[in-house]
């Protein structure tokens, strides 16, 4: 068969050695009455060439962002990815390894993770980071659980300006640990958390406040004020940061974040229909670091005094502590984190600043061009790479027409935010050109 190298002579040799007539005999512990009698109802095997033809057909029955010009963001972004990334992540030594349990033959992956941890710590302004989480949403859920454990409280404050899917994920995780979630309303004028609602008592016994940075609407929250407020109430500040924005925006560590999480897809990972990307998780102070979920790599020496790297602080983890572990996470998103590390390494500090600056400027350009044709931004707050516009239009219909022009329009918000019935969330990355933006504005002008 396809990937089985064993010849029929070799099979016979092994069966003879085992003293059995057939492999069937080796399955003697499976009770007869539950054995599968019929073949599984699956399609017949395809040879490589047939498989490729079939898969190409499937892939080509999608219209991808190879051909569409995307102004859609909302948690998954069409950024430029340096060519070198895919070449590195395709190397079999990285691709086909697993969690580096045997450190002496896994120094490649271990050092990559150590460098990744450093890059994330630098980006977020925190002391330490772990080896990655499944995605931004689960990373945030784990951060909230960790905050509850550390603060010994069982309430989490979530703003309605957080990505709605992240809200769903956090709520589900909290509900299953009997932790309450209090939603913080937002201000229709600014598009940010309603700071007026944050009177002294509101924090009450909250373990943490989550700040999306920038928030789901692309707007930058008043982080300094929020940070003081939650800390005064004895809670932790959890920041869900967009990593690209950190090329321009103040590092969460600098305004007092205790835990910083986020979705790393924009660095090194194509959108992949929503996954895999990678979640990142960073925190400060040894009390928190020793309660972090997930894999952590530390520096050490070998018996000859050479520098090397190992998985460390493993007494937090499920394979050692079982039900007393800080999390159940085992597999993470190591290869996607590698992609992120290669991307950040090759663009460097100047490239990081460039990409953030271009996102900011191009977003501002689209915003102003739309304003000129009467499509207004919905909120007054400063934005980074995304913004909400409102127009008296049926955005589902508009998006359909935009597709005919080769554009992937923004995300209509009415379904999740009834007060934003005529609003759409648009995103502009550095990958968009002036020409594309101009043509998009022109197309929209004819439709709204």
């Amino acid at each position: 068969m396809r990937y089985i190298p064993t010849t029929s002579e070799e099979r016979q040799h092994m069966l003879d050695f085992l003293g059995v007539d057939s492999v069937e005999e080796l399955f003697d512990a499976v009770p007869d009455r539950i054995r599968t009698e019929k073949p599984l109802p699956l399609p017949d095997a395809l040879a490589e060439a047939q498989l490729m033809r079939h898969m190409k057909e499937l892939s080509e029955s999608n219209v991808s962002c190879e051909h569409l010009v995307s102004f859609l963001g909302a948690g998954s972004y069409d950024h430029l990815i340096p060519a070198v990334v895919n070449h590195i992540t395709s190397r079999g030594e990285f691709l086909t390894a697993y969690t580096p349990y045997q450190a002496e033959i896994s120094q490649g992956v271990l050092q990559v993770i150590f460098e990744f941890q450093t890059l994330i710590a630098e980006l977020t302004g925190m002391d330490a980071a772990n080896a990655s989480m499944y995605d931004g949403a689960t990373s945030l859920a784990e951060a909230c659980l960790m905050a509850c454990n550390v603060a010994r409280r069982s309430k989490v404050l979530l703003p309605e300006t957080l990505h709605p899917e992240w809200v769903d994920v956090v709520k589900l995780y909290m509900e299953n640990q009997d932790i309450s979630v209090q939603m913080i309303p937002w201000n229709r004028e600014t598009g940010t958390m309603d700071v007026a609602a944050l009177h002294e008592d509101a924090a009450g016994d909250a373990a943490c406040l989550v700040i999306p940075y920038p928030n789901f609407f692309g707007v930058i929250e008043d982080v300094a004020k929020l940070s003081r407020w939650i800390h005064d109430a004895g809670g932790l500040l959890v920041t869900a940061a967009d990593p690209v924005s950190l090329g321009l925006l103040e590092a969460p560590g600098a305004f007092g974040a205790d835990i910083v999480v986020g979705e790393g897809q924009p660095f090194g990972n194509t959108m992949n229909f929503g996954g895999p990307g990678f979640g990142f998780f960073a925190c400060s102070g040894s009390k928190l670091i020793r309660r972090m979920p997930g894999r952590i790599v530390g520096e050490t020496v070998d018996t000859e005094g050479r520098r090397g790297y190992v998985l460390t602080l493993q007494t937090r983890e499920q394979h050692i502590r079982r039900e007393k572990a800080t999390s159940n996470i085992c597999s993470n998103q190591a290869l996607n984190a590698l992609a992120g590390a290669v991307h950040l390494s090759v663009i460097g500090p100047q490239g990081l600043k460039d990409v953030a600056y271009q996102c900011l400027q191009k977003t501002a350009y689209l915003k102003s061009q739309l304003r000129d044709i009467g499509i207004q931004a919905a909120f007054s707050g400063p934005t980074f790479r995304e913004f909400v516009v409102q127009a008296d239009a049926n955005w589902d219909e508009v998006n359909k027409r935009l597709l005919d022009h080769g554009f992937l329009g923004g995300l209509p918000l009415g379904e999740r935010f009834p007060e934003l019935q005529h609003c759409v969330l648009l995103s502009v990355t550095e990958a968009r050109t002036k020409d594309e933006i101009d043509r998009f504005v022109h197309a929209l002008g004819g439709l709204c």
């Binding site: 045997q102 460098e115 899917e165």
Partner: protein
Amino acid sequence: MQTKKPVPLIFELSSPGRRGYRYPELDVPETPMEELLPKEHLRREVPKLPEVSEIEVVRHYTGLSRLNHGVDVGFYPLGSCTMKYNPKVNEDIARLPGFSLLHPYQPEETVQGALKLMYKLQSYLTEIAGLSATTLQPAAGAHGELTGLMLMRAYHRERGEDTQRKEMLVPDSAHGTNPASAMMVNYKVREVPSDARGGVDVEALRGMVGPQTAGIMLTNPNTLGLFDENICEVAKIIHDAGGLLYYDGANANAIMGYVRPGDMGFDIVHFNLHKTFSTPHGGGGPGSGPIAVSQRLQDYLPGPLVSKRDGEYVWEYPTKSIGRVRSFFGNFGVLVRAYAYIRSHGPQGLMDVSDTAVLHANYLMRKLQDDFDLPYDRHCMHEFVLSGKRQKNQGVRTLDIAKRLLDYGVHSPTVYFPLIVEEALMVEPTETETLATLDAFVEAMKQIAIEAAEEPETVRQAPYNTPVRRLDDALAARKPVLRWTPRS
């Protein structure tokens, strides 16, 4: 080919002003910064990313990759991890722009191919599990476990029994993720002992179940590589007590086409696509942990699922969905590879996979049973567990054996697990290795057994031929250095 040359950290290569990538010039009119961002929001300190050229980046990571063992490099018999060959064509397929460049919020009519793939994969996995519906959302096996247990709670809650059913039964041979996942949904873990044949102790189990039982988490074949002969009895005991059965599919490589978890009596099954269905492990991930469930649980599944209406594939939310366990729809890129794997095998091919995996494991087990202790003398399934008890008496620990194996260019088996076997070595050869590779492993293990008896110090000091010698774990934990810091 491994090298002993140490690789400096990428940060140590940094030279001010050097760049490895350029973005196109900004082509839109610039708006003054102060009009866009209030000054207090601007970053004050530049993050210390490395400043390196593209060739340095390429050499750096190529150098690091050469310090690493993978399935592409050599034998990787890491028990319960199913380190089989990862087909190259599936890598090409996953990178097709029609898959990799899709935005998750694209309108359904623009992603019919992706939805069809997911719909078919849902149905294939449902069939292989012998159950009634599948979600592809969980990002890894442990995430599937967590999702499955959330479904259990939702099920008991609807029956008004959630507050009473608080105990999750977990065998003493279970993967660490099982009790850890139970903790994530506030279940109290009760450990079920194993019997003399390595299965669940049925009599003990009978005495442990009751109105407090939420369910049991089992791996079958279990982590000893043994199929639990009493599985039907176990299922009856749990179901009679009102509990549900969770199947940890880490060991599903043993059973495809032979027996379906649904027919064993399980209500929830997770598959590790990165194990059974050959998607690359990536140095620790990404994985993917879809779960299949029985009819009585399918309405609670996280959404959305893909369904088919009037010939079109559409997103649909189950009526009593628990919500969602991650953003978007799952690790789609991993799903593409797993789908391709199933299509390249077909029903007979998948059966051949399990068949050969079991044959290879039994062959290795019998070849090694004279040199190491074999705690359970019965046919194994796709993996088996040896004990290094004898070698321990000679002054050589299982950890030493594992390190010595590295000198032979082989990744060590899983060690010290399952916990119920002293000095355990858990070996999973998989179906994709040649007989010559299996025989070479046997020779290496025999040689190490001889060394342990005759010159134990040689084994205790191993490894010798690896890029670094044995590393000091204790130092790393005592004085954690978790990041590079610039010299001031």
